[in-house]
Subunit: 412 residues, 4 copies
């Protein structure tokens, strides 16, 4: 969560959960609502939202949990603004808010001093925005979580608007740092397509199970498209898959093939998997669980919670990578060991990242030409990578590129 204060008014940008910390303390997200909010603040799981004074709007850049998940706990009183799709995701988690869906490129007045516009950009969930705040003291762009994927099959980054914003002048760019230390640019979704097409034609028999993020609609579409080519029936299993797919279909971001089946509740999953056991060569299961989340359908399939057993010759396609913290790495490693003990073949890394690499960031920087840069969303090592990049482009540390830690403020 980031606050931008101009003339005594504050705009809050995003309001998320720290998922790695949550996991360290063994909290299940679904049980989280029973936990005391102060405890969550103390454990650094949710932001200390009331440190921000006179908040006039809670803006949401996109619908990932680490950007919206704290809203049900911090219960913002200010209006919550985003484009329509993320607003629906917030609504699912938090019914009490004052929610506004704003169209891309539509100027929305927050107060006399401040207006906001949402600029379309690619990421790994539909309707991600570069947030443009227009204030008395200049424009602020908030670019927290994006990549520049010109081969995205879902949306296109609005380069014209980005360049125009740069020409109009940007006082400050607040920007994510996750992969700024990775050379080159983040590969496009077409790489996933190429890998997937290859693997699907290569595998000759047995059940195929793929796992990815339920919110990654573009990836789900990629998978379903490629499955259609090999003629298997797609079964999409699990509540979060079902919810995200329903929403994406409603907004026109996803088109299911006619033979696809979506099962949310355990009983229907059980039934579907019973069918699979009879004709495993004809089905393709898509579900969550690539980080071995204990409640995921994949883990429950493996633990024999359904009328289903993995068999020698089945295949598991990991269409998402784990977030590389030690617990995830370990859980994933155990998951793979158990699958291999059943004779399941593993196909990893059918995935590309949703985060900008060094050259994506350089392009954004050149398009926006901001007076100041404030890297965020990353360890200090990652944010330091932004200092190196900006230095190559003529910025200077502490003059116009700034490093601040969580909980700190700076004035420019």
């Amino acid at each position: 969560m980031t606050g931008v204060t101009v003339g005594g008014e504050t705009i809050a940008l995003d309001n998320g959960l720290r998922l790695d910390t949550l996991q360290m303390y063994d909290y299940d997200i679904r049980d989280l609502k029973k936990v005391n909010g102060d405890d969550l603040i103390r454990l650094d799981v949710i932001p200390e939202a009331n440190r921000l004074r006179n908040v006039r709007a809670q803006i949401v850049s996109h619908g990932h949990l680490d950007h919206i998940g704290a809203i049900p706990f911090t219960k913002p009183k200010a209006p919550i603004l985003s484009t329509p799709y993320p607003i629906e995701i917030v609504r699912r988690e938090y019914r009490g808010g004052d929610l506004y869906g704003v169209e891309f490129n539509e100027e929305f007045s927050i107060s006399k001093r401040t207006k906001v516009e949402f600029i379309r950009v690619t990421h790994s969930i539909p309707e991600t925005s570069l947030v443009l705040l227009k204030t008395d003291e200049g424009n602020v762009v908030y670019a927290c979580d994006y990549k520049l994927d010109d081969y995205c099959n879902l949306e296109k980054t609005d380069y014209r608007k980005v360049r125009r914003t740069g020409r109009d002048g940007v006082k400050l760019l607040i920007v994510e740092s996750t992969r700024v230390n990775v050379a080159g640019k983040t590969p496009p979704e077409t790489v996933v397509r190429s890998k997937l097409e290859d693997v699907l034609h290569f595998i000759e028999g047995g059940l195929m199970v793929a796992t990815t993020f339920s919110s990654h609609i573009e990836r789900i579409q990629t998978i379903l498209d490629e499955v259609e080519k090999v003629g298997r029936t797609p079964l999409i299993l699990g509540h979060s898959m079902m919810n995200n797919i329903e929403l994406a279909e409603r907004f026109g971001y996803l088109e299911l093939p006619p033979n696809a089946k979506v099962c949310g509740d355990p009983k229907r999953i059980n039934q579907a998997l019973g069918e699979v056991m009879k004709k495993r060569d004809e089905y393709f299961v898509l579900t969550t669980g690539h980080q071995a989340e204990p409640q995921s359908v994949l883990v429950r399939m493996l633990e024999n919670n359904f009328r289903f057993r993995f068999q020698k010759g089945d295949s598991l396609l990991f269409c998402a990578n784990v977030i590389p913290v030690p617990l995830n790495i370990a859980y994933r490693s155990v998951l793979e060991s158990k699958l291999q003990a059943r004779g399941v073949r593993i196909f990893r890394d059918i995935h590309v990242s949703g985060h900008a690499s060094k050259e994506d960031h350089r392009k954004l920087l050149r398009m926006l030409q901001p007076e100041h840069v404030l890297p965020c969303h990353g360890s200090i090592e990652q944010r330091s990578g932004w200092v190196a990049l900006a230095s190559e482009e003529g910025y200077e540390l502490n003059r116009n590129i700034h490093l601040i830690n969580n909980g700190q403020t700076t004035s420019i």
Copy 2:
């Protein structure tokens, strides 16, 4: 180099240089001919060929230096057999031999006891073979260096012939191990296409320089195809590029776009780079040097040996990875540091391996159903990976999957 002995007659399979050892002792391959052969044997750079008795044929599976490079030193007296393209590569290095170009799937009699056939398979150089030896005591398949890339734009693995060979019975499979410990299958060349198309459209100005193996004709074609789409003029620089391209064009494995220029000698390279300095946005340079080989054109471009300077905003596309031994890693790291010091942007990993991963190997094993497996071309860790894979498929160590070290023999 592997020898297969049946009834007192030996067939030699490949005859290569250990490139990593060479490099450790600072030998330049071009000066190697001055070095004493016995010294090269002592240093473990070339095989001790005369340990093989009564050699009736020297077979070559493909034209990489680690498979043919020792031929000029060991000077085989037996006929040298391969398909026509690798035979031409051998001829360039060694004029003295008794060379035979044999067509794919044509049975060639080596002796009364032994016949050979070459089966087409994909790898990272044209005309790579699975070598099928038909002997009195059963058939032997030698699969040293291959991948199963069904999206290769150059050749197709002859699956029909492979399966028929399996049905006819295979006594022994001798097979490479480089990547058998890597899960899944090796990605296809289409992944390189997707990445390259993305990067070429992404970069807005400055000179683009790409580097890859001069023998990797398929990759060169991929690069030239994508360059054509963005309208730059390709300049292909260096002797080894020129020689390989000439050969590949002659055999119809490569089609240069009409505006491509190929320059082999330093004077012409210098001239061409002079042109580049004037209109760097219009050119695309393709050359060798991704392992920072000191004689490569790329390194000489960087060391200012030509009428050329890298400039801020130029881009370097690494369309090949280094062989991961410490010296290569270090030299590559120094190369990148020097490029970055000039302001050159680095795009890495526009590459897929030419070696089979675990699932490619499993498929070959299932198609061939050999009685025995002998992993080779790899460290003992890598060869042990083959033991693990074969055990999953019902083989048992020391019974029908065998581990032997360099210099050892085994009987089956």
Copy 3:
């Protein structure tokens, strides 16, 4: 578990649990007795003991769980033989057996054909043996788990006996492989003393907590000796610590300082920690939990299960390393993160391994001069390291150094 069969009689060597697999399936060792033995075999947690026919003795080389832990499940009918200290450890776990404590260097007749002797060697638990089997067909030495630490403060390797055994002739050496790929020799316990002395004098205030294996009596003595020098009161907490200390004191392997307190049950631990809260500068807590085992006292201290809170300025000394599998690495990383969140300072790596490195193994090989070597206790990569070492010493793979997988047999 290893079986040596001579003339139709089998000697079983060790009989342990696979701890990493156990952990993967979330079993608590203390609940294990409720689990079905066949399930444990299927999961590869305990050996399939009844594959060995006509077992005449169950020999135990030392008291670690991965060498004795399966005895309560496989319930050997043959007599269980070891030196007195490990026999007492087995007795704690399994009361039903026919247990014999044999003194070091005493020849014990198992049958007409076979005698056994135990030769003292250093490791990380008292009374570890090189097991010498004297059979009709020659002598077998079983060296599974040892190091050569000539600065051990507890015991000395019986080099004279080892060399004499070598001179008498050894047909087969069965030997562990855990660290054969590590160059040099394993450092001695004096390195731990030097580090510990330094750290204990360096820390100026706050509570000190050290954690190590409860079975590592030598390490416990090292720690208590150094704590005595800085004048703090040692508190030793936890059941397994108490049990091991009692046994070691009874056998004269450990001498507690007069002011040391040992508390096994939660109530007494709670009381002792209450005292610590009042004068934390005066105490030194020694306990288990360096792998973040959920039931360990350290983890319960951290989870506030006692009348105790960690405070800023406390120190945690890790006097043992985790076994480097992903789950352990992850749990340890979470443990450290939680400690650091409380302001606890971390001192890692006050530890040396208990396993022989490459040069320890070379020395054993040279002393014993066995006709054959069979590496065990290690992945195939680790066992392959033994092949490399033995090759340096003139052995040859498949002739007199052998690689076999779990479940396999070989004849020599």
Copy 4:
């Protein structure tokens, strides 16, 4: 090189070479004097010294090349100040300067405004100082390169003076960052002693060769002490060893055993190695070359430049680690491969670092209680580690802990 400017006067602190960059461009330090100074600045090998205006003193904290090596190139006009031992090292490299040897704890007036004192601290070369600048605007402590080794056999950190300095008030601490991200404290030299004693008693025959830094007098003493216990004759080979040993003996920092022989020039080295070849079990060779520097005696021994051959059964003791940049890692790896090819046994890591770890730094911070902290000597990741540490101790980024890049200035 760091400049501290108060009231228009600047004090320059250290003036070193970037050794990793030098190596990247293949410069030999001994040939460096032929290279143009501007080229060295452009390559970022020496600092751009004339950016500092009105320099009143060039202070040297200790005698390592990365702290003094640029002095012969930048030729400071201001007086060069240090304690007597480093001053002699500077004199060896640069005869033209105005050199002053100042005793520890003696206040030396640089100008009306500024005085300097040198405070003794432990590191890996004799007479390393914490530099205390007393200025009109407060005291500055420069702590660039130190560790807190209370078991150093050469010198003791002057804790009393450090604490008194803290009580007198410190405006700014400029401090190195090399290992601030390493938990715990840096182990003491006694750890090296324990390892060395163990290894020397363990090895039974063959020549022993140890390699370390020629400037690391304490390590050389440790080695010679332990060699004396096993009764071998120490041969110390090479010019830099000889020069450093002469200086250290003159200052009383080193005492050679009576039977030690020191040989500087190639002819005498050759003679001595001739003797070694006759009785290799009786000698112990100490020399440089652990980073495989091509001119080192070790590398020349291996390349057969002397009347000497390594033999199977010889041992190489690495009593220093490589600086972990890719080139060093690669060269060291090649060195070890070549030694192993000759049958030489490798003993690594008989070494402890000379740089403070996180807890050493915390102790210094607590003793000095500076108003501001400026981390230097390290990558931005390493300096960021100082931000994390200082934050734990109540400092705040950009308020009283500052990150600046090379070439930048900040005011406090």
